[in-house]
Every structure is written in structure tokens, then in C-alpha cells.
Point group: C2
Chain length 249, copies 2
DNA sequence: TCTACGTCCTAACCTACGTTAATGGCCACA
DNA sequence: TGTGGCCATTAACGTAGGTTAGGACGTAGA
């Protein structure tokens, strides 16, 4: 399962992500490449970590999409985050007794398993790296807050547009988007479970976004035809993503 | 402004909160009491930290209620968290360039300002304490996720009930609730801005919760008359709060 | 070639919640 | 002893989004 070939630096998504926050030394970069060497494959639709589990490793997404989700007693599902290359599933969850939610692969996913010990030495030896990973968790928290705002205070149309804007920026940050087009492997059911809507209504709003020439969506690829229009429909302000580079485009 | 009298241990909410996660040594306890000695008062309705600010200190709520909030371009407000005694406003926000939201005092609030330096030495010298504070931030994250589930997938009635259950557990954890009654200094407008509803509809649902003898609410005090009934109306499962003690009651 | 299944799409109808607006209680302050 | 402001409450009415139930299409596997 585990391949031992190191990813070339240019393809390492964590490197790209953290590099967008602060410049990293050659040693820091190599330490990251080294830490993410043990890559494992997970099939689509399989849990990477299940609710109630107590993981021994820290899991880092190298390739593919995953979703954090919770199941309600009545069987309904709420997705609380999307995880894309460069995202940690459970950066410090070893402190808690057990997972209070599950993480499922939406596509075939490559995960790097990083042992608790390896993580500790990484943080101890490389304070700048630790700082960069702190930054990443704080951004994740900011994203959670923005999702609350999104679901709580925007209508269905703006909600979808906002999610698209966010995922576009995040995909660009790890070199997974170009020219406003990127891989969005979500069904309308996923979108519904993410945004607190029904699949039927998601469909209606997608039609509208298409009719207004803001997006093209098909074959699991999203193309943003009119970035300015989409952002204004969403009321999107990227500052909560705390990127160094100029935000938005 | 700042009073120099140390809070007696029994009244220090952070001590109570962290103690609910792991037993703390005498030295750890004194370190916390010492760190929270510089207490400052903030009037109700004033920002403790404003959007865009870059705080120099870490702020710890010692007494009173505060709310994290974001304002949308159209002027609407979404509250993304309630902060009660023992909660940090911005535990590691010094890493980010600036705040991406504001924090407002809902009642007169006592805040302890802890300098960045003091925080660092606390973490360096007392690894157990650092671990306990990690735990607290992870729980905060879990709460954010649960709020997404709450707003996304529960109806208005269950949403309100769920918030009440959560705040009850959290208030109990810091010794601020007894016999199912506690101080809830929120207007119906606050509840609306928290739960993605309108004040009018909040009112309707409160009437219903009262009519069904689940709660009493008045004079800024919430009394939970029927804890089991309220929890079942909410679909509340406290495991996301990761307490040591038996959850729920 | 047929069947099974997942996904997208649409239509008709329904309801939980929003909107607007008015009333009354309470309390601080003149 | 008023008066203004905040807050809770209620009613009448409007609508965004939910529900139910289909049909069309593509793909996988027998």
C-alpha cells in the first residue's frame, strides 16, 4: 500500500499551502517532504477515520477530496468541512479521547500517515514549521466560522456561490486550479448536506447560476465564467482565509 | 482598572474547566491563578476586540458573557460563538495578521489580559497545562462543528433547545449553573442572530418550549424544567463537548 | 442486450419560517 | 410623573425552500 517515493516538492500540497503563509527554508521544506513520504490509498466512499475512533496517526491529505461529516439520530447527514490536498484530518485529535465525527473519502484519496512521535519532533525541531501549522489550524477555524455565517445568514443562491468561491481559492492555494476551473467531485446531494438545503433546491439554484452565466458545472469540473459576478452574488470576502498573496483572484 | 487581588481558586473558571479534563497539580493551579491576576472590566455592548484588530494580549473571560460575531455587507449579524467564564477569546490569534471577526461583551465582563510572553512561558514550563489548553481549543472547534449541524439540519424548535442544552453543560462546567437554572443574558435578537432565524420566530418557539413545560425563561434566567424532554427535543448528545464527567446531567 | 443503479432534472404542491406592523410592559432618566 | 427606548409579544400575510414523485440519461455488470 504505502509507497516510499517522495513527492517532488512542486507537487507537495502542504508545502504549497504553508508556503503561502510564510517563506520556508530548504530544511523546512525537506522536513515536510520527508514527513509525508508514507502514502496510503483510500477508496472513494470509504471512511478515512470513523466517528468514535481514536486515531494513532495524524492524517494528511495528499491527493483527492474528503469530507468531515456528522450523522444525526434521524439519519440526516451534515458535512462540516471539505478536506483537499494539504489539509490535515485530525492535527491534534490525539489529545481527545475519540473522534466526534467521521471523515469520508469522496474520491480515491492518498493520505500520508504521520506518527504522533514524528509530528512532535517536527514541531520541536522546526519552530517556524510549527508556527505555520498553527496558522493552518487557525484558518480552518476561520473557515468553520464562515460556514456558520454562510448557512445562518445567506440565502440558498448566495450559499452555493460562496462555497464555490471558497473552494476555488483553497484549490488554487495548493496548485489544484487554473483559469478559474477546478475539479469539484461533489454531487448535488453533497452540496445539500453541506449547505443545509435539499438536493432539489440545490438543483434549482445551480440552474440559475448557469443561466446567469456565472459558472459551468458538469463532469465533476467547475468552471467559474464570471469570477467578479460570482463573488458579488456570494458576498465573498476572502480575508477569513488569511492568505499572504492578494486574495480573490 | 486592573485589580490585583487573585481570585480564590474555587472561583477561577479556567481552573474548573481544565480540571474537568485532567487533574491539575498544585503548581499548575497556582500558575493559572497567577496568570489570570490582571483583570479588566468591559462594559456591556462594548467590543472586547474588534474586527481587523491585532491584539497583543490573549484575553480570558473571567466573568460575564461575550459573543463572537461577524457583520455581513448588508448589515446582518451572525453570532458564531458565545464566550463564558473560562473561555479564551483569541488563544493563538497573534499568529494571524488580524482578527477576522469581533467580540462583544453582552454583560459587564471581566477579562484577564495575558501577555504573549507570559502565555509562552506558561506553555513551556507546564506541558500538562499546555495539553489542557489544547484540549480546550479542540473542544471549541467541536462546538463550531456542532453549530453547523444545528443550523444546517435542525428545525427552529430543536435549534433553540440544542443551544440551551449546550450552554447549560458549559455553564455547569465552570460552576455557573445549579439545579438546571443559569444566567442566560441573551435577547431574542441574539438568539435569532445565532441560530439563523428571525426574532419573531424565536419568540414563537420560546412560547412553545414554555407551553410544553420544558423551560422557564425570564429576567435573563433560564430554568430547565424538564432536562430529559429538552434534550430529546434538541437531539442533544453532549459527547462533542468531550467532558470527563458523565455528560448530560 | 438487458437490468440495476446513481445522478440530474422537473413539476405540482405544501409549510416552516420571514415580513411588517402594531401593542404593551418595563425601566432609566428628565 | 412623564417620556423615550428596549424588549417581548401577537397577528396577518407572503415566500423561500421542502416534499413527493416522476422521467431521462449514463455507466457497470450479467
Amino acid at each position: 500500500m504505502a509507497t516510499q517515493r517522495d513527492l517532488p516538492e512542486a507537487e507537495n500540497p502542504l508545502l504549497m499551502k504553508l508556503g503561502g503563509f510564510m517563506p520556508l527554508s530548504r530544511d523546512d521544506r525537506q522536513a515536510i517532504v520527508h514527513a509525508s513520504r508514507k502514502v496510503r490509498s483510500v477508496q472513494a466512499h470509504c471512511d478515512i477515520i470513523s466517528d468514535g475512533e481514536r486515531p494513532n496517526h495524524v492524517h494528511l491529505i495528499i491527493d483527492g477530496w474528503a469530507a468531515r461529516y456528522k450523522i444525526l439520530p434521524n439519519g440526516e447527514r451534515q458535512i462540516t468541512a471539505y478536506l483537499i490536498p494539504g489539509d490535515f484530518c485530525d492535527l491534534h485529535v490525539t489529545i481527545l479521547r475519540e473522534m466526534d465525527h467521521g471523515i469520508v473519502a469522496l474520491t480515491p484519496v492518498s493520505v500520508a500517515d504521520i506518527s504522533r512521535h514524528e509530528m512532535d519532533t517536527l514541531c520541536d525541531d522546526r519552530p517556524r514549521l510549527m508556527r505555520a501549522m498553527w496558522w493552518a489550524t487557525l484558518v480552518d477555524e476561520g473557515v468553520l466560522r464562515e460556514w456558520i455565517v454562510n448557512i445562518g445568514r445567506r440565502d440558498a443562491y448566495a450559499r452555493i456561490a460562496h462555497l464555490m468561491c471558497e473552494m476555488h481559492v483553497r484549490m488554487r492555494n495548493v496548485g489544484r486550479a487554473e483559469e478559474g476551473a477546478f475539479h469539484l467531485p461533489l454531487t448535488q446531494d453533497h452540496l445539500a448536506d453541506t449547505l443545509g438545503l435539499t438536493p432539489v433546491h440545490i438543483n434549482r439554484m445551480l440552474q440559475r447560476l448557469r443561466a446567469e452565466h456565472l459558472i459551468e458545472l458538469g463532469g465533476r469540473t467547475l468552471t467559474i465564467l464570471d469570477p467578479v459576478g460570482l463573488r458579488s452574488a456570494a458576498g465573498f470576502d476572502a480575508s477569513y482565509l488569511h492568505n499572504n498573496e492578494q486574495n480573490g483572484r
